[in-house]
């Protein structure tokens, strides 16, 4: 077994660390406060080929492996979980869906500008009445001549207000059950598709989230992604990729919580000594460092399996489950270590704490991950 990154992966990780320190860390509190999408940062991310790391060069990507993408998401998330997530869902789900299922023409037309970072992708599946229970979705796509007509309402769409290409799931044949959902690539501005207002969220505030309303939205037949009826299988495979990204985002959050806790506990003096000398504090930090390591290994292993072209659905769910719950556990501890200062705006741990919560919810709740994992091991 070799627990070692390649020289390129190490350098790319360092470069992203430097990028995040220089361009993301200084604005992270502000974009959180104002729920602002930092378009200026995404322009720079595009210039550095960070928006399509695992996409082959012929489709505008950097042509590296998935683990390299995961390292970038982790390092970005260490500074700003929102920015890390936007890259993760754009690459891990939107780009991967087109790469894995698109026709050559779709890859040229949609994947290439997305992988170059010129266009932002979105994943449009969840509905007000259909979260974990995807089958409860009601959005339909009815074939009418040379186009499908979509009707329905989606919600919690990440990159909804800011996206360019939307991967939208709708029933083409509800009676066919799991084989009745299809996926469509819908460009922004298509008549009948209206992104809603950005939601005001507890955390992950600069990641733009909204409803998406479809009213007699005509989508040309050639925008069907993959085969008709294959949508659900494609969505689940998309989740497998995306979940490794959420795990990486969680790892970045825990690393940031650890960095802040170490720094603060060595500086903060109570009863004449830095509080890091108190066993109560040092053990919190020991647990944090240990679970960070475990979360990181689970995450890298899932990405590595993907790169080895092996099944990684269970491992992605395990990585996401463990890393996200660890992120929540340890950002709570990080705030505790910071005491009153950690409860106030301006402390990074306050933002980390709010950002951590969503990792247990989106791209499948922790409960949904346990369903995936138990479904795998109880087979």
């Amino acid at each position: 077994m070799e627990f070692k990154l390649t020289e390129e992966q190490e350098l790319i990780r360092k470069n992203m660390r430097e990028f995040a320190d220089k361009y993301v860390e200084p604005i992270a509190a502000e974009i959180d406060e104002n729920s602002r999408h930092p378009a200026e940062v995404f322009k720079l991310l595009a210039e550095g080929d960070w928006m399509g790391i695992p996409i082959p060069g012929e489709y505008g990507g950097a042509g590296a492996d998935y683990l390299t993408h995961i390292l970038a998401v982790e390092e970005l998330s260490r500074s700003c979980a929102s920015t890390g997530f936007t890259v993760s869902i754009h690459v891990g789900i939107a780009c991967m869906l087109v790469l894995l299922n698109g026709t050559e023409e779709q890859k040229k037309k949609y994947l290439t500008p997305m992988a170059k970072g010129e266009k932002l992708g979105a994943f449009v599946l969840t509905e007000p009445g259909a979260g974990t229970d995807v089958m409860a979705a009601t959005t339909t796509a009815v074939l009418d001549g040379d186009a499908y007509v979509l009707n329905g309402t989606k919600t919690f769409t990440s990159n909804g207000p800011t996206g360019d290409f939307y991967m939208v799931f709708a029933w083409t044949d509800k009676a066919a059950g799991r084989k009745g959902m299809s996926c469509f690539i819908i460009p922004r501005g298509t008549p009948g598709m209206t992104p809603g207002e950005h939601f005001r969220k507890m955390g992950l505030r600069s990641s733009q989230t909204s409803e998406m309303v479809f009213k007699d939205c005509r989508v040309p037949k050639e925008n069907l992604l993959g085969k008709e009826g294959a949508g659900l299988v494609m969505a689940m495979a998309g989740f497998d990729h995306g979940r490794v990204g959420i795990a990486a985002q969680s790892v970045g959050i825990i690393q940031a919580a650890l960095d802040e806790s170490i720094r603060y506990s060595k500086e903060r003096v109570q009863f004449g000594n830095p509080i890091s000398r108190n066993q109560a504090i040092s053990w919190m930090i020991a647990n944090m460092a240990t679970e960070l390591q475990a979360a990181r290994f689970l995450t890298y292993h899932a990405a590595w399996l993907k790169d080895q072209k092996q099944g990684f659905s269970k491992e992605a769910a395990m990585a996401k489950l463990f890393a996200s719950e660890a992120a929540m556990r340890h950002t709570i501890k990080a705030v505790q270590i910071h005491g009153g200062y950690g409860y106030c705006k301006g402390a990074k741990v306050e933002r980390l704490f709010r950002d951590a919560k969503i990792t247990e919810i989106y791209e499948g709740t922790s409960e949904a991950q346990r369903m995936v994992i138990s479904g795998n091991v109880l087979r």
Binding site: E7, E8, E10, L11, I12, K14, N15, E18, F19, K22, E47, G48, D49, W50, I53, G57, A62, G63, A64, T68, A72, V269
Partner: protein, 255 residues
């Protein structure tokens, strides 16, 4: 257009140095990085290269410093030359300059050599001037702006000196040492890093070079800086202010 050589050093990343017992520095878990000012040197080299020029990144170090080659190549250099030997792990400035000069003299055609003003670890500011001396070419230090003449063959350099800015000209071949103000080094993109491994690297072994001279510098000890908290409270009465000024003078904060 000019053939440019950018020299760089692969140094310990100080963020990983830990404080051991008795204030000793613990290097057991350190990582390495491309010395900061040398990033400016590499950036300036690629800028000066223009159309048709070349940039060669050059370093001397132990074989472990090979990692730095990809980093340097990802920053725009066309080729790298690596004087590699376990004996080069802890060269002093005079030895480094001698090794680099020997490698350049016989192996690298050049018009312009660019070094960082000082290295990120010791910041002795010696290698650049010594290298120029060894090669018998002029050296321009403290450069904050560099322009290659449109017709080629010479440069104009702005030097930041104590009393202001000095503008000097020199004909090729010439060596400059650059300050961090000269440019903002790029953060290599993903493709830059992936491409770096495909660029040519020439390795020069110790035995291909004349015998290494003795070091002129000997490190006796290195200890960590100590941070002490000294809290003294002063009031606003005139005698308190006088006491405050005296205290500042005693601490060396104020003259």
């Amino acid at each position: 257009m000019p053939k440019v050589v950018a020299c760089f050093k692969w140094v310990v990343d100080e963020a990983y140095i830990r404080k051991g017992g008795g204030g000793a520095l613990d290097f057991s878990a350190v990582d390495y990085k491309l010395s900061e000012y040398d990033r400016n040197a590499l950036e300036e080299a690629t800028r000066c290269r223009g159309e048709g020029g070349t940039v060669t990144a050059l370093t001397a170090g132990s074989p472990e410093a090979a990692k730095g080659l990809k980093d340097a190549l990802s920053r725009g250099a066309d080729t790298a030359v690596f004087a590699s030997d376990p004996a080069f792990a802890a060269l002093d400035s005079s030895q480094t300059a001698a090794v680099l000069a020997e490698v350049i003299r016989n192996r690298i055609p050049y018009d312009l050599i660019i070094c960082g003003e000082g290295s990120g670890d010791q910041y002795a500011q010696q290698v650049g001037p010594r290298l120029a001396e060894n090669l018998g070419i002029p050296c321009i230090s403290y450069v904050q702006k560099l322009t290659v003449a449109a017709e080629g063959g010479r440069i104009t350099a702005e030097r930041r000196v104590e009393e202001g800015v000095e503008v000097v000209e020199a004909s090729f071949p010439v060596l400059v040492t650059v300050l961090p103000e000269i440019n903002i080094p790029r953060i290599p993109g993903v493709k830059d890093t992936l491409m770096a491994g495909k660029k040519p690297v020439v390795t020069v072994k110790n035995e291909e070079l004349p015998p290494l001279g003795a070091a002129k510098l000997k490190t006796l000890a290195m200890t960590a800086a100590r941070l002490e908290r000294n809290c003294e409270l002063f009031g606003t009465a005139p005698e308190d202010i006088a006491r405050f000024v005296t205290a500042l003078q005693q601490k060396g904060v104020s003259g």
